[in-house]
Symmetry: C2
Subunit: 223 residues, 2 copies
């Protein structure tokens, strides 16, 4: 607590700033944060979705927690983690910068998409208006808890696994826009394939919850 020199101040300050950026400096942790922006989750479910061992997931979550990027709450036998306020926006910033400046990223996604059907990508601006007027059906194919944690206003929830069995719930002849967790989530891609195979006109909405909130789209919580 004695007087700091300017150099010591800067070192100390930037060391603190680096706590945040170091916590983000891992592909796995970025993926975990993306999952968490779809709602709170337990360790085990995060581990499964991110293809990590539970112990490894737990230790990544400890790193995030030490940097205050996530919050943990133990309820009963389970610990649920949630993303801390403002973190979603920063992760989104990383994604946008990477998309803007790293050509490799679009190469990768294009390679992936090229091996599937080309998918029309819809932008969020116009979508809501069309959805409200009934011109399109907006379909959320994520897990029900994720839908409950926040979804687009007019969306209906049919998890991808149930889609084939529940196609009859969708109005025929109306275009379907499917979305899931964001641009790197493949659920909606598969949903579109299934829908087209069943004779629907279908397209995928690129954006996920982090994008909606950043864009100021009203996100509805709970069923």
């Amino acid at each position: 607590m004695s007087a700091l020199t300017p150099r010591e101040l800067k070192d100390a300050v930037y060391e603190q700033l680096a706590r945040v950026s170091k916590a983000l400096a891992s592909a796995k942790r970025l993926e975990l944060l993306d999952l968490l922006s779809n709602g709170p989750r337990t360790v085990e479910s995060l581990a499964e979705q991110a293809s990590l061992s539970v112990a490894n997931t737990s230790s990544h979550l400890q790193v995030l927690r030490a940097a205050r990027l996530v919050e943990a709450e133990k309820r009963g036998l389970f610990v649920t983690y949630r993303i801390a306020e403002g973190v979603e926006g920063l992760v989104l910033g990383v994604r946008r910068l990477a998309e803007a400046r790293l050509g490799e990223l679009s190469e990768i996604t294009e390679t992936f998409l090229a091996s599937r059907d080309a998918l029309e990508v819809v932008d969020g601006e116009a979508l809501l208006a069309r959805a409200l007027s009934g011109e399109v059906t907006v379909l959320d194919v994520r897990a029900p808890e994720e839908y409950a944690a926040g979804h687009l206003p007019t969306a209906r929830s049919i998890p991808l696994a149930e889609l084939r069995a529940r196609l009859h719930e969708l109005p025929k002849g109306v275009e379907v826009i499917a979305y899931c967790r964001g641009p790197y989530c493949v659920l909606a891609i598969e949903a579109v394939s299934a829908l087209r195979a069943a004779g629907f006109t279908a397209a995928r909405l690129h954006a996920g919850p982090a994008d909606w909130r950043a864009a100021g789209v009203p996100v509805v919580a709970s069923a």
Copy 2:
């Protein structure tokens, strides 16, 4: 280029995103980026200001360049580095999140400031209007090149080292608001001390160029 599984896609994508966040994951590199948001600089001048060896600075800059966060241009004998578009905003996001969520940060700066005179901190909103009306003098105490690379509209440039000798240039009886590179730069703090010792009413503007631009304040380039 053969078909990727969804898992491989995600791994590849998040690995790319992590290129960006890994490049930010170092106290020294964050400091370099902050310096670069005050204008392009050569390796040697960055090394000096960040208290690093030239070779070490160079290799940090290579890391930043590999992630496309800075751009290098060789002109004559010198290589000048400049911050890439959109990067400033991301660094600012890291800073804001750290300030909001890491109590240690404000402890450190308060400890530092407590050992100096308490300084009134001015917020940028009201400042411009007051400056334009001549009610206050806005003083940029950074290096002349930094001033030239972008400064507040009504500011005049007097580098800190010359301040004592050039006090007579400032209108007497008018409050002075001094700024430098941002909240963790100490130049303005010392300028305020010197100004007060000379009988001026003086205060420090916390914000630096990254903040102005994020706030949409018009930043003037060149003299």
